[in-house]
Symmetry: C2
Subunit: 418 residues, 2 copies
């Protein structure tokens, strides 16, 4: 394998997570180890920044800032939901890469982003431009295929579990009022996030909160919901419900949408499942329902993120660089779980085409027959992912996050009409 | 002062906070120091537990559990919103106190609860029953008069500020979309909690998020709101709004209620102010609005609570016992701030009648002229209250909280019809 000398570019795409910046930190830390990588650029706002030649010099950032990235939520390079559609867009990407001698491209993102990375990689091959493209997995939704799990997932679940335990303490205190407390969490097509709330239960305490979990995997029925709530309220002082925003009815339609219409990728904008369930409680059960909707806060909650998740996100960034240096391209880093009972995790690689637009559903056999709780297989899978706490630095009582200097790289081409 | 020998009772009332259990821990820790206090009882579910003679023996709990109380949210003794109305109810309270030789009564709660404590104290005096009643302040609303601030407030504000900083990282990343991000927080009559979100701004960075804060102190106007949002979106990539649930219009009506009707004290049940503002953004500004509603999670967020607040809550519990032992009664512990620039806090006492049903409003002169931001006087007041982090123990990746054994004290009277 001939050494490929040139610059590297890392960019972030799709919805931010608590640990996507840890992956960028991993890319930067590893890239510094390899002399064949000359400049370490960050692309601003995903592919949008590439089209517009908006690059920053990540090697010029202070080491403190790069370290601080490891505990900073959001996407420090900016992200976008812009989808490359026209052939012209792809040609522009290659033109920009050539102008800046980008030979290594690392793209942190979910399904749609890995699809974009795949197309860029294929086009470079067609044009005979030597480019190594490695995807870095990122999504709180945990729905990428092949990889055992996705960086971002463990942290959102840990935060939700902390919230469930705390809500439970509060609800328990107020008990005897037949209170139904509903926590709405994210999750568009799969119930991975809502299912994760089950980890708030102690081992061998099936009646611990959350008492009921509603997943998109199980078509929603008002009759069953009302029955479920009544059953719990007979047994407990309150009923704590976790519901994924992507709840669907038996015809496959979303139970609640916020009416804002689809996003740039044609995905419905969800929200309101919690309020919808609260309405059913008031109407059909006749008791008080209180809702909380963590919204974007859940995917940004670095202050309560998982150290395991954070470490793996960093590792995935490092592994991407190592793979590219070793000559790999058109692949995404995947997380591979060891076979032993003691949880271990290594990285591997999978073709981008296998990842692109694939969706990994929550296995139905991990959901108990009652449809509202998870069995031991899910616990065995997910519990290791939320272990350990990340020490976020505080400044004047509030978490302090990285603020990159963003030294701009000079543009070399004429502007492009996006 | 003759030594008063007998049992002590501590109970909790009203909405739980992240630190109300720290106050109970303070009462227990201090009560153990005084031989004139024979038994240390906890009353379950506030006055309801007193009426029903539902006491537990707190001295029988393990020391670990009492220590663990210091970082446990909710109300470990249970709470209630039951209001003593009939003379018969008050007579029953005294009857129960006499039966169990309760000579020291410590009641942790807000305005309504201190009113109840005041009435119990007055009745005991009228009947010549030697009882020392000391209130322990508790409310996230920070609206008790006389005391400089209230245990519970610093913690809810710290958690909200952490959430604002994290939301900001996420919103910033997604920028360029003219996103309006709305965080709904609690606060029924006063904007103390929403105002606290201002502490997420760095010193001398007035344009830091939250960009707009809407308080019940400022009558809400749709025109001004739309103008405010447009102004921020011209300057920033996104607009982060914090809104208190108790927002009122110029006629003094709540802008948004959840339609659930008033609670036992006749207070409106609020909720939906965030969704209401989101609707206005879509309709009048024409950009996307995303909402998060922390709901009860905000007052239970021990995992992100303020060490200063936690320490003061414990101190207030200790001070209540010391005051009662010293012969004080019919008072509430208040927090007194030192005169120096360096923040210090001591405890004092104020008559319960001064506290009962009083409301401390956020000073209007602490709100900037723009009506949507806070000035240096507010920062000077509130910033010390969110300092320091509480180390919450984690078990299997999730915060671990106290679980009292609740050794029941034998009932001595015939049942009472509540």
């Amino acid at each position: 394998m001939a050494e490929l000398v040139g610059n590297c570019l890392v960019a972030q795409s799709g919805g931010p997570t608590a640990v996507i910046n840890a992956s960028v930190a991993g890319v930067v830390a590893e890239a510094l180890n390899h002399n064949c990588i000359e400049e370490i650029y960050g692309g601003l706002n995903g592919v949008l920044g590439i089209l517009n030649e908006e690059f920053i010099d990540l090697a010029a950032e202070s080491q403190q800032q790069i370290r601080s990235l490891r505990s900073t939520p959001g996407a420090a390079l900016g992200t976008c939901r812009y989808k490359l559609k026209k052939q012209q867009d792809f040609d522009r990407v290659l033109e920009v890469f050539k102008a800046h001698n980008i030979r290594y491209f690392f793209y942190c993102g979910g399904n749609d982003s890995q699809d974009t990375a795949d197309k860029i990689s294929k086009l470079a091959q067609t044009q005979g431009y030597d480019l190594r493209v490695i995807g870095v997995p990122k999504t709180i939704d945990n729905d990428l295929p092949v990889t055992d799990h996705c960086p971002g997932y463990g942290s959102v679940v840990k935060y939700i579990c902390a919230t469930v335990r705390e809500l439970a303490c509060d609800n328990e205190a107020m008990g005897q009022n037949d209170l139904v407390s509903i926590l709405e969490v994210m999750g568009r097509n799969a119930g991975w996030i809502a299912a994760g709330a089950a980890l708030a239960k102690r081992r061998d305490h099936p009646y611990d909160p959350p008492h009921l979990i509603y997943l998109p995997e199980t078509p929603f029925s008002t009759e069953k919901f009302v029955e479920d709530v009544r059953r719990v309220l007979k047994r407990e002082k309150y009923c704590l419900v976790v519901v994924g925003e992507g709840l669907i009815d038996k015809d496959g339609n979303y139970v609640a949408t916020d009416g804002a219409g689809p996003d740039a990728f044609g995905h419905a904008q969800l929200g309101g499942a919690g309020d919808y369930l609260a309405g059913l409680v008031t109407q059909h059960v006749g008791v008080k329902a209180r809702t909380a909707k963590l919204g974007i806060a859940q995917r940004a909650a670095a202050h309560c993120s998982s150290k395991t998740d954070n470490d793996e996100a960093f590792l995935a960034g490092q592994a991407a660089v190592k793979a590219a240096i070793a000559g790999e391209t058109d692949k995404m880093v995947v997380l591979v779980r060891g076979d032993t009972d003691h949880y271990t995790c290594e990285t591997g690689l999978a073709p981008l085409s296998e990842i692109a637009n694939g969706v990994k559903k929550l296995p139905r056999e991990w959901i108990n027959e009652d449809g509202v709780s998870m069995n031991f297989q899910f616990f065995r899978y997910a519990l290791p992912l939320i272990q350990g706490e990340v020490a976020v630095p505080y400044d004047n009582g509030v978490p302090a996050f990285a603020r990159l200097e963003k030294h701009r790289v000079e543009k070399l081409l004429s502007p492009y009409e996006v």
